[in-house]
């Protein structure tokens, strides 16, 4: 009865109609009566002392309501922003924790650091007034170059972190690794830069706040991926507003990709100032502000080595990484290059020994935090670049070398040497399927044909693993995470039989309104039109940790399943009463309670009605109503895996790289809606292709100015930069969650950079090009070609 809308069906999205007709409701769309508008004055310098701030002239500008500076927030004892994950270094000490004031006090530490907040009747008036604020800066030299950030004599960002070191962390046993490398038949070495990216969700960050003097209640509308966590942080650490007096609403949110997880100073300031101004305050970032102040992603400098025996079996992996934290520690920043990166370095392989040393460094740049994949793309890029380079050096087919080292399907659950225990997987059929779809056999013919047109064609593999579906709370706690990582759900029937699913997860493109409804439709036999998914409002939804790390289906969906089980269990009792049968004899099939072997039947809707109109109802033993909630804390992460194969053509005269074909085969466990899953993969791949070929956040190394500060300078992938994709899938159900699902949100972005860059290197190998850094722009590639020595002997 629900086959067309249940689990596995290609159901068109419930949310589409409002987005297609211009009736979506994003934060900036909110009509707020008597609203004022905020504009934030930003530091034009990467590092400077603030000698004085003169707001006198600005306060007299038309429409200005109030101007706040760091002195005001310090006087009011507004707390600093927090980093919620404690990473302990080699010395056993927690990471260095420099303060992160909501507005700069006496020092600015990156271009874009917040200096003053102007509140005026219109946004234009606020902006005009900000230009009249006089700030006297004493400009200092800045620390911009990550590779040198930890060197002696580099300007310090914070005195609390001497030498700019936040932590020096390791995993694995170094001595074992050194011994393995010493006796290896072959060692492949690689120096890599994982380029800094700017997330660029299409909706800029925005916040609006209102304060009700009569009740003392605050309401904050924010472009947040996790409204409950945002409220928790603002309440417990920053503003001290009791949690029950602060309502956070994240309405329609136009993409996040990680950048909208974090607690930012603008939403904090808007909330704090709303009670002082006595009118609602709205703020929406201009795109140039987003470039400057959204938490950036990636930004690693890495030296890595892979030791192999003579047959190509991996013996040991050694990784040394400096990770950029920017000028302040953002909400989850410390966990990204450690527990979300180094613990993934086993990849899909049986490498017995792994050692990673990660040093987190401060620089005078915007904070860096989780961006789609968060650590896992960086890990995959290290492993898969090394493996393809080793294959080329040892003259072993790149697919063959991978296959030789895959964890066998019989080895699951598989304990890696870097803490994680993979629950399930079967990697060889994935690469087989990818090679079939990509017509790997026909590649040499395509390469020859491209050569006849003067083009260099290359092919590249990337076989990724990720750990997502965060995560078992106990493990997160042991690793220093400051929050639980369960998820919650409430299934609320109305007397007339329609259903609301209330979830603590948040959808900002992921299509929860459809996927979650499909689960309930399938499980309870309710038509999908009769189901509504409610999310994004702390006043109406149960507490949830929000959406990131591909966790909403694996964790939030599992909570929905648990709540649905409770609905069925209660329904059975009601139906047993109505049918005068024993509960043990009642079964639930396709939306109807039945007594096995009889024609007695009670549809779920009838049981629901009886629960709300309990005239004939076992009130002595059962509460009325049909409204169940559940919390779900997973027992392990989930481990999606897959292989991408990219083919590029390079014009050697211009250095232009064209992605001509791109294949992705993934194992996401069971799939609820294949259309939605494919869409997630498409988008992820393009973000990965963007990192590989186009995107780069560039700060001028002398001045710290953000050179790539607009869409004129930061190269976003456009439709004509990418081809259509070829996708496939294989399924090993997750053994430990009730849906058997894994996460699909980040896979595309995790695997793609290595696939593209391996293809680029494969294409350029005949010219003797050894290494091209990301992004492989035409200039970068052309210069690599000019500097290369043709590999004539090979």
């Amino acid at each position: 009865m629900t086959a067309a809308t249940g689990i596995g069906a290609r159901v068109l999205r419930t949310e589409d109609k409002r987005f297609l007709t211009g009736t979506g409701r994003y934060v900036d769309d909110l009509p707020l009566a008597r609203a004022t508008h905020a504009y934030f004055l930003r530091s034009p310098h990467a590092h400077a002392k603030i000698k004085s701030i003169d707001t006198a002239a600005a306060k007299k500008m038309p429409g200005v309501v109030e101007i706040f500076t760091g002195k005001d927030t310090a006087d009011a004892k507004v707390g600093g922003l927090i980093c919620g994950w404690v990473v302990k270094g080699k010395d056993g000490q927690p990471h260095k924790s420099p303060p992160h004031p909501v507005m700069a006090l006496d020092t600015v530490r990156y271009v874009g650091d917040t200096v003053a907040m102007v509140v005026a009747n219109t946004a234009d008036e606020a902006k005009d007034a900000a230009e009249a604020i006089k700030v006297d800066y004493d400009v200092k030299s800045a620390n911009i170059d990550l590779a040198r950030a930890l060197d002696k004599g580099i300007p310090e960002v914070h005195p609390e972190a001497p030498g700019n070191l936040i932590y020096d962390w390791e995993i694995g046993v170094k001595a074992d690794i050194d011994a393995a490398f010493a006796k290896a038949a072959h060692v492949t070495k690689l120096d890599l830069v994982n380029n800094r990216l700017i997330p660029n969700a299409m909706e800029p960050r925005a916040a609006a706040a209102d304060y009700d003097k009569g009740t003392g209640n605050y309401t904050l509308w924010s472009t947040s991926q996790n409204p409950h966590v945002l409220r928790l942080i603002l309440s417990a650490f920053v503003l001290g507003i009791p949690e029950h007096k602060l309502r956070v609403i994240a309405p329609d949110v136009g993409g996040g990709f990680g950048s909208k997880i974090f607690c930012y100073n603008e939403e904090t300031m808007v909330t704090w100032a709303a009670s002082r101004v006595g009118r609602p305050i709205k703020w929406t970032a201009e795109r140039s502000e987003s470039f400057m102040t959204d938490a950036h992603g990636r930004d690693h400098v890495t030296h890595a080595g892979l030791a192999l025996d003579k047959d190509g079996k991996f013996l040991a992996l050694r990784v040394d990484t400096i990770a950029n934290m920017g000028a302040y520690l953002s909400t989850f920043s410390t966990a990204v290059p450690t527990y979300l990166y180094a613990t993934l370095l086993a990849g899909q392989y049986t490498t017995p020994l792994i050692y990673a040393n990660v040093r987190a460094a401060l620089t005078h740049t915007a904070p860096v935090d989780a961006y789609r994949g968060a650590g896992r793309p960086e890990a995959t890029f290290v492993i898969e670049s090394l493996v393809s380079k080793a294959a080329a050096e040892m003259k072993i087919d790149a697919a063959e070398l991978r296959r030789k080292n895959f964890i066998p399907s019989t080895a699951f659950p598989y304990q890696t040497p870097v803490a994680l225990q993979y629950d399930s997987g079967n990697y060889p059929p994935i690469i087989d399927e990818a090679m079939k779809i990509a017509d790997y056999k026909g590649f040499e013919a395509r390469r020859a044909e491209a050569k006849s047109r003067g083009k260099l064609r290359g092919i590249g593999f990337s076989s990724y693993i990720e750990a997502c579906g965060l995560g078992p709370s106990r493990v997160i706690g042991q690793l220093g995470g400051g929050v639980g990582q369960w998820e919650s759900a409430q299934i609320k029937f109305n007397p007339t039989g329609n259903v609301q699913i209330l979830t603590g997860a948040h959808s900002h493109g992921q299509s929860h309104e459809t996927t979650f409804a499909q689960i309930v439709s399938d499980k309870l036999g309710v038509p999908i039109e009769a189901i509504e998914v409610v999310h994004g409002d702390t006043a109406t939804t149960p507490f949830g940790m929000g959406s990131y790390g591909s966790r909403s289906l694996a964790v939030g969906g599992s909570a929905i399943m648990k709540a649905a089980d409770k609905i069925i269990a209660k329904g059975k009792k009601i139906a047993a009463h109505l049918m005068e049968a024993s509960v043990a004899d009642v079964v639930f099939e396709q939306g109807t309670f039945k007594v096995a072997g009889t024609d007695k039947a009670v549809p779920l809707g009838a049981a629901v009605f009886a629960a709300y109109v309990p005239h004939n109802y076992p009130l002595e033993e059962l509460e009325p109503g049909m409204d169940e909630n559940a919390f779900y804390d997973p027992s392990n992460f989930v481990y999606p895996a897959g292989t991408q194969i990219c083919e590029v053509e390079i014009d050697p005269d211009t250095g232009t790289v064209e992605v001509v074909a791109h294949t992705a085969v993934d194992d996401f466990g069971n799939i609820i809606n294949p259309m939605i899953v494919d869409g997630q993969v498409h988008g992820g791949i393009v973000q990965g292709v963007g990192q590989a070929l186009m995107e780069n956040a560039v700060y001028d190394k002398a001045t710290g100015q953000l050179v790539s500060g607009s869409y004129m300078d930061y190269t976003m992938p456009r439709a004509d930069n990418v081809p259509s994709f070829k996708l496939g899938n294989k399924v090993t159900p997750c053994p430990h969650n009730p849906l058997g699902v894994k996460g699909c949100g980040e896979a595309g972005a995790i695997a793609a950079p290595a696939a593209v860059m391996n293809a680029v290197h494969n294409a350029l190998a005949p010219l003797g090009v050894k290494h091209v850094e990301m992004p492989a722009t035409p200039l970068n590639v052309w210069q690599s070609i000019q500097g290369a020595q043709p590999a004539a002997a090979e």
């Binding site: 068109l12 589409d16 297609l20 007709t21 211009g22 979506g24 994003y26 498409h682």
Partner: protein, 161 residues
């Protein structure tokens, strides 16, 4: 100093008093409360604000409200015939899952309709991709947007729109 401006938006006569610097997109969003048209950048690159002015697609952040004096403007809110009958391009976006977060969608749809008409309902993939150079999407990877536009072209022709 304010200036009076009057135009037709989605078939209705509208007017208002604006500053000289007020952009068409600001007039639509802030004066008329028509928030379907979005602002995604400040350099006229992203295309989230595309509307039709006198039959041509225009980035409404690159045009002053006063420049639209007397014009006929169509926005995303004016496309669907009724609540139940979407424009073929809107329907094709839905059918092909060409939107995720929905933020770029209004501009994408408006650009796509203009594109189909300018190419006389005949498009191929390369043309669609090239023509989308003025519209950024961060969610879909463009794959399904391209598919939706290719599928909508014949549907628009047979619907006579």
């Amino acid at each position: 100093m304010t200036i009076s401006v009057a135009m037709t938006v989605n078939g209705k006569s509208v007017s208002g008093k604006v500053e000289a610097r007020t952009l068409l997109v600001q007039f639509l969003r802030e004066h008329l409360g028509m928030t379907g048209t979005h602002v995604g950048c400040d350099t006229s690159q992203c295309g989230a604000c595309v509307v039709h002015v006198d039959g041509k697609s225009v980035k409404s952040c690159t045009m002053l409200a006063v420049q639209a004096e007397g014009s006929k403007v169509i926005t995303i809110e004016g496309l669907a015939e009724s609540a139940d009958k979407l424009h073929p391009m809107q329907e094709s976006f839905r059918e092909n899952h060409a939107l995720q977060c929905g933020f770029c969608t209004p501009g994408m749809v408006m650009s796509a309709i203009d594109m189909v008409k300018r190419h006389n309902y005949q498009l191929d993939e390369a043309t669609v991709r090239r023509e989308l150079e003025g519209n950024l999407c961060r969610c879909t990877g463009y794959h399904n947007i391209v598919k939706a536009i290719l599928a909508a072209a014949p549907a628009m022709k047979s619907a006579g729109v």
